[in-house]
Every structure is written in structure tokens, then in C-alpha cells.
């Protein structure tokens, strides 16, 4: 396992395993990352090499690196597991990022709800040289779904307010203290450190479909938890590694709350890999793979996610404050089979109107989730509009009860 492990790795073990920090120059580092095809692991999947190049071009040696370990996604545990197990690999990635983009200062932005990760990074920094310690600081990210959004992270460091800001300016132009800022997810940094050490060829040769990554399996599996996979492993492989399904499952949430629902049977052989998933209209995102138990209702599960996303809105933009909360309320009425006459029609219409109408992508993420639910659970939604539920009225359920 490259990125996870049972104990916190010390500096000595880390060095023994991987050797010293890569000596590549800025230009070489960026070229390696671009050739590797590494995509960011915070959720959006932006090419890492291109991001580093963009910041480097604007830096004039005064950029900032913000290592993003906020991990506000409720079903994701991979970033905190990585930081707790391989803090030095994350630090190496941040140091290389700083070298590549021309940054003196490094900020580790770690979710306040992830004490083990915080302690591991803190302890690991104490093991490093005075020079590195002097350039690095840890900032505790407040709890909340949007705290890790990149403009929100920058806003919090600058002004103590973890709400997204209007872009432009994007953080790579004007971020922390107005300086060009590389905001990069901690897993992306760890992978960048491995690629720098072993070359882009190593990364491309790992996995069936080029690359490795972390995911979090949860829901109706026997052993939920973080897995390291070679890309191209299938959904079925993930279930097998999680000890099999607990009961039956027909629907899986891929990519987290900004991802979407997919049919388990249809996607059983789906190679998990960001690019091929995107081409099928699916999302790898931050690697959430959540199986809905067969006796759970998809409408109810979707209502819960939408209620959560509504509660996590930064409440700055009208379409999110009013539109998203109205969608969540109507979906909740449908879930409890007490809908108003045209609730289903309304969530279809309102959902279509959300996209691209927020300062951040919160409404877009929610709209994508809703769209996938309306597609996969189309029958269930239609039945709920008629005050019936297919799931809870299944005969076998009655027999078991």
C-alpha cells in the first residue's frame, strides 16, 4: 500500500521506503506530472500538472501552497486516513509543489474533525528540519461541506470566513494574502511525490487503466473503509475487497454527494478510473462508493442527501438559498409520500435551473445528484408522487417482517 497503512509512518521509515526527496527542478516536476496524466483527487479532477504550471507562471517566487485536507464530504475518509498514515508523503508533495510553483509558504488546511490526521501532520513536521517547519503552518478547517472548496479555503485563511467567494479572481491568480496560490488536495500531493520519485512511467504502469488512487467504500458492504486501488479495478472488485455485500444492493452512489447514483448490476464491471467514468456520465470525484441497501428507498436516500446539501449551503446565492432548499423540501415531501400535486414536476424543472447559478459549484453538484436520482429511481419517484413506495411494499419485505 502506497497511501494507507495501519500506523503513522515515521520520517525514518518513510525515507527508508522511498529514499530522499526528489531532486527534480521546477520544470522537470511539472513535466513529469503532465506526462503522468494525474488528475486532482479533491473531487473536480483537474489535471495536476496543468494546475502547477498555471501557478508557476504567475508566481514570481511569491506563491503559496495550500495542502487541502479539509475533507468535508460525509462519506469520504480517504484524506484523513492518508494524512494519518503517510504524513511525510503529503509533506513531500507539498514541498515539491512549493518548489515547482515557486512558493515559500505552505499551509496544511486540515479538517478540525480529523484529529488523528492533524496530530500526524503536526508530529511529522516536528520531525522535519527547522527550515521546513519555519515555512509550514497548520490551519484547522472548520467543519462543513463547503469549507474545502478552494476559494472557501483561501477565504478562511485570509479572513476567517470559510465561505466561497466569487471567481475570478481564482486562487491561482490571487489567493492567500493576494498571492498566487496552489490549492491541492492532499492525496494529489502524495501521488505527485511518488511520481516525482519514480517517474511518470511508474504511475502510468500501475493499475489496469493507468494510475492508483484511494476510495471509500460504505453502505451495504461487510467491511466499509478506505481502499487503495489500481485504476481499472471494477466496482465488483471493490465489493470483494470490502468483504462482499451485506444483503443486496441495486444502487450505488459514486463520487460523493456531488456525484451520482448508478445501477449496481449495470456497473458491476465498471472500471473505476476518472476519465472512463466521465465518458459514461459518471463521476469518480473524491472516490466515494456508497451502496444503498436493497430495502432502502432511493427517494428517501436522495432526500437525505439533498437536505444535507441544503443545510451546508453557504447561503450566499439566491438560487442555492431558495432553489436548492425548495428542491430538498419537495423531495422530502415525496420521500414521506405526502407530496403536493406537482412536486415531481417542480423538482425536475428547478433542478434543471440550478446549474451554473452559484458563486461555487454547490448548486451544480446538487443538481447532478438529483438528475442521477430522477433517472435511476424514476419509477420510485413516480410512485411516491402517487403516495406509494415500491421499496417498502415489496412482498419479500412483508414476509421477512
Amino acid at each position: 500500500m502506497e497511501l494507507i497503512g495501519p500506523v503513522t509512518e515515521s520520517l525514518a521509515t518513510h525515507r527508508q521506503r522511498l529514499g530522499p526527496l526528489s531532486a527534480l527542478s521546477s520544470g522537470e516536476l511539472i513535466a513529469e506530472l503532465e506526462s503522468s496524466g494525474l488528475l486532482g483527487r479533491g473531487g473536480a479532477g483537474f489535471p495536476v500538472g496543468r494546475k502547477w504550471r498555471t501557478v508557476a507562471e504567475r508566481s514570481s517566487g511569491r506563491a503559496v501552497v495550500l495542502a487541502n485536507g479539509a475533507e468535508g464530504e460525509p462519506l469520504s475518509h480517504k484524506d484523513r486516513s492518508l494524512m494519518a498514515a503517510r504524513p511525510h508523503l503529503v509533506i513531500d508533495g507539498a514541498l515539491l509543489g512549493a518548489r515547482a510553483v515557486g512558493a515559500d509558504d505552505i499551509i496544511f488546511y486540515i479538517g478540525i474533525e480529523h484529529p488523528a490526521a492533524d496530530a500526524a501532520i503536526r508530529h511529522a513536521l516536528a520531525e522535519r528540519s527547522a527550515d521546513i517547519r519555519g515555512r509550514a503552518q497548520i490551519v484547522s478547517a472548520p467543519a462543513g461541506y463547503v469549507s474545502g472548496e478552494e476559494s472557501a479555503a483561501v477565504h478562511f485563511v485570509n479572513a476567517g470566513d470559510a465561505r466561497p467567494t466569487m471567481t475570478p479572481p481564482r486562487p491561482f491568480d490571487r489567493g492567500v494574502a493576494g498571492r498566487p496560490t496552489l490549492v491541492q488536495n492532499v492525496e494529489s500531493l502524495a501521488l505527485a511525490a511518488l511520481i516525482a520519485r519514480r517517474g511518470h512511467g511508474w504511475y502510468k504502469d500501475t493499475g489496469r487503466a493507468s494510475g492508483i488512487g484511494l476510495l471509500t467504500a460504505s453502505g451495504a458492504v461487510r467491511h466499509p473503509g478506505v481502499q487503495e486501488i489500481g485504476f481499472g479495478s471494477t466496482l465488483g472488485d471493490v465489493v470483494a475487497a470490502a468483504g462482499g455485500l451485506r444483503g443486496d444492493s441495486h444502487a450505488v452512489l459514486l463520487g460523493g454527494y456531488f456525484g451520482g447514483w448508478a445501477d449496481v448490476e449495470e456497473q458491476w464491471g465498471l472500471p473505476l478510473e476518472p476519465r472512463s467514468m466521465r465518458s459514461r456520465g459518471l463521476v469518480f470525484g473524491c472516490g466515494v462508493v456508497h451502496f444503498l441497501a436493497a430495502d432502502s428507498c432511493g427517494v428517501e436516500a436522495t432526500a437525505r442527501v439533498l437536505a444535507y446539501l441544503t443545510s451546508q449551503s453557504a447561503r450566499q446565492c439566491g438560487p442555492c438559498v431558495f432553489g436548492l432548499s425548495a428542491i430538498a423540501a419537495a423531495t422530502q415531501r415525496l420521500a414521506t409520500r405526502s407530496p403536493q400535486a406537482d412536486d415531481l414536476d417542480r423538482i425536475v424543472r428547478w433542478g434543471g435551473q440550478l446549474v451554473g447559478r452559484g458563486a461555487c459549484h454547490h448548486p451544480d453538484g446538487a443538481a447532478g445528484l438529483l438528475r442521477s436520482a430522477l433517472d435511476l429511481f424514476a419509477d420510485d419517484f413516480a410512485q411516491h408522487q402517487r403516495r406509494r413506495c415500491v421499496t417498502v411494499s415489496r412482498p419479500e419485505r412483508v414476509a421477512v417482517a
Binding site: T165, M166, G318, F322, G323, Q353, R357, G358
Partner: protein
């Protein structure tokens, strides 16, 4: 070519923009603008500028598109 951009954090849903420029801007059920994507055609640029000026919270902009 210019495109209409809304600062979603500033926008309070006054709706004057949609009254002035219904060809490009409609309102959702709560009065917040839904803007057609793409550049504003030449014959509407003048009205679009007026919509930008009339916004009470200065949330509307014309930005170079592409």
C-alpha cells in the same frame, strides 16, 4: 463579444434586469435571474449595458466571452 455575468453573491433578486432584457434574462420562481449563455447579440448590447447600470446592487456585468 460580451456576455452577461451575474455576481450571485451580490444579487438580491430585484429582477429589474429581466424586465429590461427579457430576450436574455428570465427569472426563477424566487425572482433570481436565469441568464442565457453565450454572447449578447449586437442589437441587444445597448440594452444589456442599461441593465448593468440599473441593477440596484451592482451584481450585473458584461464580460468578454470566450
Amino acid at each position: 463579444m460580451d456576455e452577461i455575468v451575474v455576481d450571485r453573491i451580490r444579487c438580491d433578486g430585484h429582477g429589474l434586469c429581466a424586465e429590461l432584457l427579457p430576450e436574455r434574462i428570465s427569472l426563477d420562481d424566487w425572482g433570481f435571474p436565469i441568464v442565457k449563455r453565450g454572447p449578447v447579440p449586437d442589437h441587444l448590447v445597448e440594452v444589456a449595458r442599461r441593465a448593468v447600470d440599473i441593477c440596484p446592487v451592482l451584481a450585473l456585468h458584461l464580460a468578454r466571452s470566450g
